[in-house]
Amino acid sequence: MMHAPILPILLPLFAGSLLLLGHRLGHGIQRRLSLAATWALLPLAVWALLLASDGRLRIYALGDWPAPFGIVLLLDRLSALMLLVTALLAGFALLYAVRGDDLRGPNFHALFQFQLVGINGAFLTADLFNLFVFFEILLIASYALLLHGNGAARVRAGLHYVLPNLLGSAFFLIGIGILYGLTGTLNMADLARRVAGADAGQAPLLATAGYLLLVVFGLKGAILPLHFWLPRAYAAATAPVAALFAIMTKVGLYAILRVFGLIFGAQAGPLAGLAQPWLWTLAVATLAAGVFGVLAARDLQVQLAYLVIVSVGTLLLGLAPGSLEGYAAALYYLLHSTLVAGGLFLLADLVARQRGELGGALQRGPNLHQPGLLGGLFFFGAISVAGLPPLSGFLGKLMLLRAVPVGIAALAIWTVVLCGGLGLLIALGRSGSTLFWRGSGAPSGEPADGVRLLACAGLLSGSLLLTMAAAPVQAYVRETARQLLDPAAYLRIGAGGGA
């Protein structure tokens, strides 16, 4: 059996355990081990991507129990793509952290690795209960990482983050319980087959389970009525942790794509397209709320946290039509928004370090040591995130707007997306000019560290790369969308076959 699918889970698991055991080793060894393990995920992810790009679905039966009886991991184009973006983001975030942020609390590196176990596992599993377990792993690691560095603001944000997520886990289990009670299986592909063949009497209960799962994933993904935990938590987190968290909301959206694209997808008979009618409204509302948040923020980190909410809304807009163009646009935008958001969180920290007590507050402050360099990076990131040509944000939004079917809805969506872009532009322009142009007096702190700058520029340059390699990336995401929209191959896994 090909062992590629499990390696991205095992590698950080072993590295994290080693780091826990060797917590008395010097910082140097811990840092090297952690960096090596994290950057080794990149070649693994590229390998997975190359494997997956032949369009076959690779399944890995844990303990060699055949599906649907045992738990299987599934490597397809989508999971390979998510692994790659996680590896890139984590690599640069860790590179930033080893310049000192990792010493602000104990066990940073072990927690970072366990967080990666959870994220990679959630992207690879094809079993609903296993998805719950990996969600819990990534959540408990993220709870501890959020508190890394102490401080009253982090404890307060921590409570607001932990308590709703615990309730969300309870909902997740209830949803899984209902699905299992009605269908007798937890394998996603097998669930899809059985939901499609369910009789009319079971449909309302199955729909209940589906909506419960939508609530849970909406909470993880920070979709509108459930987004209140996000701004405070992300703004309070240490910069490399906040950068890594840029992928966390995407885990929720990924789960929506898997569950509502496959289990309640087009073949699901009376339950087909269960979430579709809701996703439009939720997407537009999330997008609008995020833009208002960005406009109202008085702190750079809070502003960036609201930008994450904007990107969630925009992504959801791509998932809503359930079409090939929509999925392709959403995946392209996902790559762009994850990397750029991560880079901007790191940049915000670089800026805040040179402003003394003011930190990221959007008020006039001292001059910066490197106003040109940092301002240039901010300008680049802001253009990309607001969706102006020529960078990847523009391409992503263009693909999204073209994916919206023509009609009254399109009118509303175009208006919200384009006005939202204008709002972002105004807010970011205002912040940029306050931070970089209206300074007076001598800068405090030291000039930005070279490695930190490299990590920040590395993530932001993802946008440049996505623009220059737009054609191959677009071809890949289109093929991914095509694969997702052809459930026949997935359903064969549930029947015990597989590729």
């Binding site: 307060r156 309870a170 319980g177 299992y180």
Partner: protein
């Protein structure tokens, strides 16, 4: 049996939700614990409620479903870990914020 089971689940959940809405940290932790008990029992019931049957084929007249039991076990372990974490977090919150309100504000008293 089903009716009794359903009523006790409902009571556990209702008490849990009430405590959760108290917005002080100790009742909130208790509420979350009650809700997780209810959820575990619910998962267990999804394998159907039967007495006197082993979850192994051929040991008794019928057979119970072993999978929900495994799921409940996992859920209990995870629930324990999470509760322990929330308690530690609450203690730190009490130390740093000098308040047991969930939103971190001083209590009025």
């Amino acid at each position: 049996m089903e009716a009794l089971f359903a009523i006790s689940l409902g009571m556990l959940t209702a008490s849990g939700v009430y405590l959760l809405l108290r917005a002080r940290i100790f009742p909130v932790v208790l509420g979350l614990t009650l809700i997780s008990y209810a959820v575990n029992l619910f998962l267990f019931a999804m394998g159907r409620l039967r007495t006197g049957v082993a979850p192994v084929l051929g040991k008794s007249a019928g057979h119970g479903d072993p999978l929900p039991q495994a799921l409940v076990l996992t859920a209990i372990v995870i629930g324990f870990a999470m509760t322990a974490f929330v308690v530690v977090l609450a203690l730190r919150g009490l130390g740093e914020l000098r308040s047991d309100q969930v939103d971190g504000k001083r209590s009025e008293r």
